[in-house]
């Protein structure tokens, strides 16, 4: 058990190192930030001076080494554009992204769990067919398109009903918050629910076929209890694992939704930073997001072996 955890931690460190290399050099490929920071007619001399100031005149491997050692010491640098510490920017945007992702996962679970469970119960029936069709739509409709369609239908009076705001994050109290949150959260949640639904369905199918579900029926347990008490509790473990992973994955994948709904979160910040060639911001945010993902994966691996009694027995 301890060897397993250690090897997983080592793997996680290697992955993070690889990510840092990729994000660093890929960023440098996009060009010179001074082209954007300075006016068109700035002299070559002022370009030189700015590059020197930002440390961009050093050779690449030296730059990388500085970046790596600074990061490991907790110094994430300053934004090239706004001159503010990157960590300050992240702290500002982080809650908005967390809120959106949390709401998206919540909505997707709300849709996916009951649909997945009942499509397994009614296997091969009409409901199952519909649910699986829905899953295909869920996974094949691009988020940006769905987001735009939702805005058309629910936020623009000329096309549909103006019952939700088109963009931004609510600021006056809880209801305003939720009001702004619903469309973007649904846009993301829709896509996520497809995967969770499929997993719930297949996990449930397996459990429904088990002897203990059979025994529950033999005992005379009412069907809804057979499904939720005896079935779902056992089917939920892989679904839970998957949802936690998805949560981490989606934290980094809010970019599109945040762009469509002008949501002031991390995703939008990264995109803006990429356009501005604001290297410290891009590097830090991407690193952070991947760290969250890698850490969540690690956590799931370890938790899983603790949660599942059978795995515990096997060891």
């Amino acid at each position: 058990m301890r060897r397993f955890i250690l090897s997983r931690i080592l793997q996680a460190i290697l992955v993070m190192l690889a990510v840092s290399v990729i994000v660093f050099f890929l960023g440098r490929l996009s060009g010179d930030p001074t082209d954007i920071l300075l006016p068109h007619d700035a002299s070559e001399e002022s370009h030189e001076r700015l590059r020197d100031h930002l440390g961009l005149d050093e050779p690449l491997h030296v730059q990388y080494w500085i970046f790596l050692t600074d990061t490991l010491q907790g110094d994430f640098g300053e934004s090239v554009k706004s001159q503010r510490p990157v960590m300050e920017l992240v702290k500002e945007k982080w809650p908005a992204t967390l809120e959106l992702t949390g709401a998206a996962i919540f909505i997707s679970l709300l849709i996916a769990l009951p649909v997945g469970v009942y499509s397994a119960v009614r296997r091969g029936g009409f409901f199952d067919f519909l649910a699986r069709l829905l899953a295909v739509f869920g996974q094949s409709i691009p988020s940006f398109w769905l987001g735009i369609m939702l805005i058309y239908i629910f936020a623009v009076p000329q096309f549909g009903w103006a019952i939700f705001p088109t963009h931004g994050r609510g600021e006056d109290g809880l209801w305003d918050h939720i009001h702004h949150l619903i469309l973007p959260a649904f846009t993301m949640g829709w896509y996520l629910s497809a995967g969770i639904m499929r997993l719930t369905r297949s996990s449930m199918l397996e459990v429904l076929d088990s002897d203990y579900v059979k025994l529950a029926r033999i005992k005379g347990v009412p069907e809804y209890k057979v499904i939720w008490k005896h079935g779902f509790k056992n089917a939920a473990l892989p679904v839970l694992t998957y949802s936690v992973m998805i949560f981490a994955l989606v934290l980094g994948g809010t970019v599109i939704t945040e762009m469509v709904f002008a949501w002031p979160g991390m995703g939008r910040m990264v995109v803006d930073a990429v356009y501005a060639r604001d290297f410290p911001v891009v590097q830090t945010t991407v690193l952070l997001l991947s760290a969250v993902f890698v850490f969540a994966n690690l956590l799931v691996d370890i938790l899983y072996s603790y949660l599942n009694p059978k795995i515990r027995i096997a060891r």
Binding site: Y212, L215, A216, R217, I218, K219, N234, P309
Partner: protein, 322 residues
């Protein structure tokens, strides 16, 4: 006296995409109060489907009782609604499954799983429920029953788990228990213990049992009557001793010949040549004809109806005079 369970001409088919599987094809037998019937046959001969037909828990979609009656305490279960059946399952008829490793829910404690029977059928709660659970665990002789309440199935041995399965089946004092190969998954030493326990409980409570097995040793030990099943039909049924002494159907004779004997030379195990037929494509005549050492012309053409060989001894075979 009318029988506790009287199954008449039961036909349960499974309608699959590729055709109809005649899993149970005209089965009749009866069990009296406190009596034990052994249902014997090879894997896939329709034994388990017969059990599930009695409880009306058939694989969905596709499994269906197409004909026949299942009279329990004089009432036909085939006509009962799902809601009525739920009141019978676990309370009047219950079942012990083969492997308690898989038949107990890994996510719940023993107390929860045994208690469920009382909570549903006797609407018990709290203290009274707990006492009933302990009583049920004591009935199946689980040592230190009070301390096992909070245990999970994976924390118990195979023998103990199967006792818990027994407690679940016997808890609500049913009048019939269907035991579907309840000892197959147990060690041989534990098997004997478990069988003795069931016998004791039966003597104590007067519960009738239907023992499904492929093990004739278990039959000899446990049963009053035996029904031998082959390819969806019962080919021979008789009192247990009568069947062992005077088997009439060539399949039964074959089965008995397969039992290793202590006094015989040990260099060879006997078996019945050939394979049981596909239940989706049965031969026209006797189902056993292709494997029968005494097959005659008529056997290949027509299925022999049941005939009385001697007192209470029925055989479906052309060799037996009507």
């Amino acid at each position: 006296m009318s029988a506790l369970l009287d199954v008449q001409n039961l036909k349960t088919y499974y309608f699959a995409r590729r055709g109809v599987v005649k899993a149970v094809d005209g089965v009749s037998f009866s069990i009296d109060q406190g009596e034990t019937l052994g249902l014997v046959g090879e894997s896939g001969c329709g034994k388990t489907m017969t059990c599930h037909s009695i409880l009306k828990l058939l694989p969905k979609p596709g499994g269906r009782i197409v004909e026949g009656q299942v009279l329990f305490e004089g009432e036909d279960l085939v006509l009962k609604t799902e809601r009525q059946m739920r009141r019978i399952r676990g309370a009047k008829i219950s079942m012990i499954l083969q492997d308690s490793m898989t038949s107990l829910n890994p996510a719940y404690t023993i107390e929860n799983q045994v208690g469920e029977v009382f909570a549903i059928h006797q609407k018990l709660k709290g203290r009274a429920l707990k006492e009933k659970v302990i009583e049920a665990l004591k009935l199946v002789k689980i040592p230190a029953a009070e301390t096992r309440l909070r245990a999970f199935p994976h924390q118990m041995s195979g023998g103990m788990r199967q006792r818990v399965a027994g407690a679940i089946a016997l808890g609500a004092k049913p009048s019939l228990i269907i035991a579907d190969e309840p000892t197959t998954a147990l060690d041989v030493t534990i098997q004997a213990q478990y069988l003795n326990l069931l016998k004791e409980i039966q003597a104590e409570t007067g519960v009738a049992m239907m023992f499904v097995t492929h093990d004739l040793g278990v039959v000899a030990r446990m049963c009053d009557k035996v029904a031998v099943m082959y390819a969806g039909r019962i080919v021979e049924k008789a009192e247990m001793k009568d069947l062992f002494r005077h088997p009439r159907h060539p399949y039964t004779i074959g089965l008995l010949a397969c039992l290793p004997k202590m006094d015989a030379e040990l260099d060879k195990l006997v078996s019945i040549p050939g394979q049981p037929p596909d239940l989706g494509a049965l031969p026209d005549g006797c189902h056993f004809a292709p494997r029968c050492p005494e097959c005659m012309e008529i056997c290949k053409q027509k299925y022999p109806e049941e005939r009385l060989a001697r007192d209470e001894h029925y055989v479906s075979c052309w060799l037996v005079e009507k």
